[in-house]
């Protein structure tokens, strides 16, 4: 039997440049589908992924929750794949599939043994060309997404704050202010023609990016993708949505009652954060990880370990750039920076608040301490490497850069841009973005139902 050491086929690492590179090629089909191919033959596994740059922020007023509803409908039947068959077919092949809805995109994937890759092409081409949405399955999926919101938002501590209230209170542009799950009245009011319009507005070939990553022959993959996808007629997709936000005029404090929370919490959130891909973006991302990420995070050490006033700073959500509903990797302005601290009842939010302000002031004074910045960078680099181990992980890296930066190639060299962040830059962004004027405090008060 043939044996081989796993060779460095795609993830090339050279000590001098610290380059984390995913070798890949791109092309565009005649109807506009953009394609990213990243072959790696070391393991007979592949990922097929599709990214449609429509998320909650691209929804129309009065039709909130549509991007997410649509994500569900994409699994519910198409021209040649009856309702329920999509999952069954993939399961039978040892494959998995899922999707996620974000602020600015919807991400679909299948991971499968590489011999089954054509089945993924076929399934995805079928649902991109002709979805079979009927009134009955639309109603059914509306109930499913409402139930999802009840369970994961309304029934969980702090989630109404994190998923709904923070955006709603801080942003004034509806596109940014409404939540991804959508309002129940909007969902209930949906009719088939809305759904059809959403599909034709956004799910056009020229508005979709496909990625195939893993064990395949790129020439064959290109031929197959042309056969399965190029016949699908393009449609005119909608243009950009206005996401602009006015500059916040001064600090604000909000009080939120939470009937599931057992302990009080304080969320501190700043608006007016930097442009994705700018120097400030990289510096503020690492600053966020220094404050909020893991057991060695500054706020964990100060509030949980030293002062013993808080119980968690990374539960239920880790803070940083993009907080609360997106993450640094999918971040795009206008966004937020911040985090949530679950604290002891007797600690008082004023004390917690002043400790946070003090820690920020230290950074604005002299930057993230050099040794700590080094540690944060090492962890960042390691996390990036871990996430790039699987075909699906690499597909996500390539597609998010293709969608948000307009170029999958931007993924290569991105780690270096984070490694280039200096202590001085962390000082500058703390001063510039984490000041008094753009700060918002959310005080969560546990409140038993009925009391």
């Amino acid at each position: 039997m043939r044996r081989a050491a796993l060779a460095a086929l795609f993830f090339v690492y050279t000590a001098n440049a610290s380059a984390f590179t995913i070798e890949h090629s791109t092309f565009t089909l005649p109807n506009g589908f953009r394609v990213v191919l990243a072959p790696d033959r070391s393991v007979p596994v592949a990922a097929m992924a599709m990214l449609v740059p429509v998320g909650a922020r691209q929804e129309t007023k009065g039709r909130s929750g549509f991007a997410h509803l649509f994500e569900h409908l994409m699994f519910d039947g198409s021209a040649h794949v009856k309702k329920g068959r999509f999952d069954k077919i993939l399961e039978g092949l040892g494959a998995e599939s899922n999707a996620s809805t974000h602020l600015d995109m919807t991400f679909y994937y299948e991971t499968l043994p590489s011999n089954a890759l054509p089945v993924a092409y076929w399934l995805d081409a079928d649902r991109m060309s002709e979805l079979r949405v009927y009134k009955k399955n639309m109603r059914n999926q509306i109930e499913v997404v409402k139930e999802e919101k009840r369970l994961s938002v309304f029934n969980e501590p702090y989630m109404p704050l994190l998923w709904i209230e923070i955006q709603k209170k801080i942003f004034s542009n509806w596109a940014n202010a409404h939540d991804t799950y959508g309002g129940f009245e909007d969902l209930d009011a949906a009719n088939l023609s809305d759904v059809k319009k959403f599909f034709s507005d956004w799910y056009a070939p020229s508005n979709t990016i496909l990625a195939v990553v893993g064990d395949f022959d790129p020439k064959q993959a290109r031929l197959d993708l042309e056969r399965y996808f190029a016949w699908i007629p393009d449609r005119s997709a909608r243009g950009k949505v206005d996401l602009s936000e006015p500059v916040q005029a001064g600090p604000r404090t909000f009080r939120i009652a939470d009937k599931h929370a057992r302990a009080p919490a304080l969320a501190t959130v700043w608006s007016g954060t930097p442009k994705r891909g700018s120097r400030d973006y990289y510096a503020l991302t690492l600053l966020g990880r220094y404050l909020y990420s893991g057991k060695s995070a500054r706020l964990y050490q100060r509030l949980v370990k030293e002062e013993k006033v808080a119980t968690a700073i990374d539960e239920p959500y880790e803070g940083g750039l993009g907080f609360p509903v997106s993450d640094w990797d999918e971040y795009r302005e206008p966004g937020l920076f911040g985090g949530i601290v679950v604290h002891k009842s007797d600690a008082g939010f004023d004390r917690i608040n002043s400790m946070i302000i003090e820690e920020i002031a230290k950074i604005a004074q002299s930057g993230v301490p050099p040794k700590a910045l080094e540690r944060v960078k090492t962890k960042f680099k390691s996390d990036w490497a871990v996430s790039g181990q699987t075909a699906l992980g690499r597909a996500w890296i390539l597609l998010r850069h293709a969608a948000l930066d307009g170029d999958s190639g931007r993924a290569n060299g991105e780690v270096d841009r984070f490694m280039d962040v200096t202590v001085e830059e962390t000082k500058r962004v703390a001063e510039k973005y984490l000041g008094q004027k753009t700060r918002n405090e959310f005080i969560v008060i546990p409140k038993k139902a009925g009391s």
């Binding site: 796993l6 993830f11 790696d40």
Partner: protein, 474 residues
Amino acid sequence: MIGILISLLAFPVAAESPDLMKRQPDVPLLADFAVPERVRFQLENGMRVVLVEDHRVPLVTVSLAFVGAGRIPGKGSAGVADAFAALLTAGTARLNARTIVEEADAFGGTLAGSATDDDIFLSGFSLSEKAERLFSLLDHCAFESTFPEAEVRLRRENMLEELSINRSQTDYLGGVAFWRALFGDHPYGTAVTEETIAKIDRKGLGFLHVRASVPSNMILYVVGDIDRKWLEVLLQQTLSKRTGRGALTVPPYPELKVDSKARRRVLLLDRPGSAQAALRIGHRAPRETHPDYPAFEVANMVLGGSFAARLTTDLREKRGYTYGIYSSLPSWRSSAAFDIGSKVRTEVAGKSIKVVLKHLKKMRRRGISDAEIRQAKNLLIAGFVSEFETQSGTLEAVSHADLRGLPENYLDLYVHRIQKVTRKHARAAARAHIHPDKAALVVVGDAATLERSLKRLSKPPLARVDENGVPLAR
């Protein structure tokens, strides 16, 4: 150019779909998969090293196995090996728990202990550029841990807390009673109790450490972006320096074979007021070394190894008795089991067991369809190959095969062996190794509601068990 550009706003897009869209594409057999090469060598102190070079990502993943050390505490000492493993990173003369975590952060990874009933491991990973620090901390914690008194006490408290949380969950209790039913008071059959936790002390852990940290009884597994030369340099500075060669090895337990005298029996653990009942059904089974094993794995997959398997299709999709039901083939160094588990609504618990037993009989008597066989093989092969996508998956596969005493080419031939399984093989394996008449039927739930429906499921009278799975005096 392929395809015609038409601008359409209608939905569905009313374009003519080409013929190839009309049917699902055929799926060829998966190409031969070459499991990465394992390089083996031995250090002068007797420690064995297994290296898989993997330069796909700039990481190094390691696991140091204290071979057989999980067996040292012996009968009546459940939890001691777990506590030992957890405390390997709780402090040394030079570092405390916090500085150990900080050092792991500084090399961009982790280091943590874990234990099974057979072996103990100290495992972690780092960025490959920081591998030197990973090896240094691994060596230091494996050999210099001091099991500080305060940390031992904290561990005991946490274990008691975890035990009380676990015991509030019916599926945990189901597992405890199930393993007890299969293995009695053998260490494979017993779970932690307040008494075994109370036995954990600094002195005992120290003895275990002396007995376990013998280089000639250790295997170091390394998967990562590192070549043999660099690895040998790192080892020279660290693990190579440790002595203790020639100490006693810890032999495996005698094989616990399928119990030919076992009879079907119902064991009931009372959780008054529980709305759901946890079920565990099964018996001892052959290990991976048995020639029928690949066919048995395929048969198990058809029965309940996936979402598309018979048990899920029937009990979840058709009858709506449960949210999920699985069957699996867990194994140890010296035994293995056939294990079905589910949580069902209390009022359908008796019926659910009957349906499961019916499926077991059907597996033995009737055939398995081509589609089922194909799907089961696809799932097993997909699961196997995807393990090698990550360093930790590769390390897990390699060390598992090694420590179970499986043949050197076990992994290399895995895909081939599964592909060779036919309907006939799978059915024969089901008949030979699935025994509804020898199964332990464990139920955890509201006894007052459940008892009647369970009484007629076995000839021996229903037995009540306590939360440690021990039968209560009648």
